[in-house]
């Protein structure tokens, strides 16, 4: 049974966006609408036939210029559960290497009659740019260090599901904030829903300027830990470790890694999250990652429901000619 959460969107709300580019441009109402819709779609995954015909006859293409097995699989499965056909298009096997541009590739795909493009690209703003060049809906599956809206939506969905609300909660995001699209989307979303966000990490990875987004900044995890309801541990990007903005791995783990000793200082019901894949033993120890406070696998299952909701909504707006 689905319980009604007290933070829900208004019942008569009409969704009008045919693209999901980022959470920066979404209103609080739009975010709540996606979360409410995802609650409905979650039920579909519990059925004996885990499929609804809402996108029957539609084609969703996963246009991935960066590797991301989890996000790609999650979008594919979400599209399949809506009965859409899915095309996988990744840069390695495409003509990108032959010098075809993003726009040309997308236009060619569009000419084949696809209905939704899910785009992962290393360039910040790539989905926004593409949305002005093609007619079909674009869903941002991560653009450089800019945004990863569906990840933040599934994080918020998971928090709301477990905590019953988002408003008033204290959420810490720990790690390489400056290079993190997950952090950026979460900051936009969480602050719009009334959570208090605290960014934690070394000074080189948590610049002062980011406080302008309406968040607190700390460089001391132990000081922050006792007061937060949710802690989102970002993945340490291996390629950053070699660069000089990053301390040594040992130092990072000692200061900002979450382990069971540190967890003693945290609230009993603190929710531990991670966007995956985890570097076990670096940002998170195995006992915490798999412990009772961990919501990490729940995040993965919820990602499916959230992506179903997003694909459904953008297609609905596209069909009726919104935006």
């Amino acid at each position: 049974m689905v319980e009604m959460t007290k933070e829900s969107g208004p019942a008569n709300f009409v969704w009008q966006r045919k693209h999901l580019l980022g959470l920066e441009e979404l209103s609080r109402q739009e975010i709540l609408h996606i979360l409410d819709m995802a609650e409905t779609f979650k039920e579909v995954s519990t059925r004996s036939i885990k499929k609804v015909p809402a996108l029957r006859g539609r084609v969703v293409v996963n246009l991935f210029f960066e590797d991301s097995t989890r996000t790609r699989v999650s979008f594919s499965l979400a599209a399949s559960r809506l009965s859409a056909d899915v095309i996988e298009f990744s840069a390695k096997v495409s003509s990108i290497s032959k010098g075809e541009t993003l726009i040309d590739t997308a236009r060619n795909i569009e000419a084949m009659g696809v209905d939704v493009i899910v785009l992962r690209h290393s360039a910040p703003g790539a989905p926004h740019y593409l949305s002005r060049c093609v007619d079909v809906p674009i869903v941002n599956a991560g653009d450089g260090a800019h945004e990863h809206p569906t990840q933040a939506l599934l994080d918020m969905f998971t928090i709301r599901e477990i905590k019953g609300k988002i408003e008033g909660l204290k959420v810490a995001i720990v790690g390489d904030i400056v290079h993190s699209r997950v952090a950026r989307s979460n900051i936009w979303g969480l602050t719009k829903l009334g959570a208090k966000v605290i960014l934690v990490g070394p000074t080189t990875l948590v610049p002062k300027a980011i406080a302008k987004m309406g968040v607190e900044i700390s460089h001391d995890l132990d000081a922050v830990l006792p007061e937060v309801d949710v802690i989102n541990m970002l993945r340490v990007q291996r390629e950053r470790i070699a660069s000089n903005v990053f301390p040594s791995v040992e130092e990072y783990t000692r200061l900002f890694g979450l382990n069971s000793q540190r967890m003693v200082r945290a609230k009993k019901d603190i929710l531990v999250m991670h966007p995956g894949p985890i570097n076990r033993g670096i940002e998170l120890t195995t006992d915490v990652a798999d412990g009772k406070n961990s919501a990490i696998l729940r995040q993965v299952s919820n990602g499916l429901a959230v992506r179903m909701a997003v694909l459904f909504l953008v297609n609905q707006a596209y069909r009726t000619g919104s935006e």
Binding site: M1, V2, A11, E43, V52, P53, A54, Q316, A317, T320
Partner: protein
């Protein structure tokens, strides 16, 4: 001009419908489940159970079906689509499902509901129970049990319930 059939008329239609179901399914060798189609079919279903059981017929399970994702006009509905959860937390296989809706008109909602139900399992049988049959079918679908027949295909029929609308009545409009 709107014709309003007041609460007593609605009550009478409910009694007729419940009696029909009880007579028809009294000797069912399979357990019965009442499934209402959102949004008013769920209220109707809930009320019917009481009336059916008062007539000595046991209803083992109940549920609510949301058919939005199965509608054949979903593309026209666009961003207004209100998708709500289907709440059927039992295995429908081997149940006789009494599918309940307030008004039967084109039959398109029932078509969508049949598809949605079949996706949940293989019921022993599905019986269609409607409070008002206003005619005007566009698909070959007929009810098994009817509370009230209003054969005016050119008139709109709306049912209002205390639970959602604060009053019980049936409205017939030009």
């Amino acid at each position: 001009m709107a014709d309003v059939l007041e609460a007593n008329k609605l009550k009478q239609a409910m009694e007729t419908l419940a009696q029909g179901i009880a007579d028809g399914l009294l000797n069912s060798s399979y357990p019965l489940a009442v499934v209402g189609i959102r949004s008013r079919g769920d209220i109707l279903g809930h009320r019917l159970i009481e009336l059916i059981e008062a007539r000595g017929v046991k209803v083992s399970k109940q549920g609510v079906l949301d058919i939005t994702l199965y509608r054949d006009d979903l593309d026209q509905v666009g961003g207004q689509a209100r998708v709500r959860a289907t709440q059927i937390d039992f295995d429908i296989s081997d149940y006789v499902i009494i599918l309940v809706d307030d008004v039967l008109f084109t039959g398109r909602t029932v078509r969508a509901a049949l598809d949605a139900l079949i996706d949940l399992g293989r019921p022993r049988a599905i019986k269609l129970a409607v409070l008002v049959d206003r005619g005007g079918r566009e698909l070959p679908i007929q009810p098994d049990f009817v509370g009230l027949k209003l054969p005016h295909t050119d008139k709109h029929v709306q049912v209002r319930f205390v639970e959602t609308d604060g009053v019980d009545k049936i409205i017939v409009k030009e």
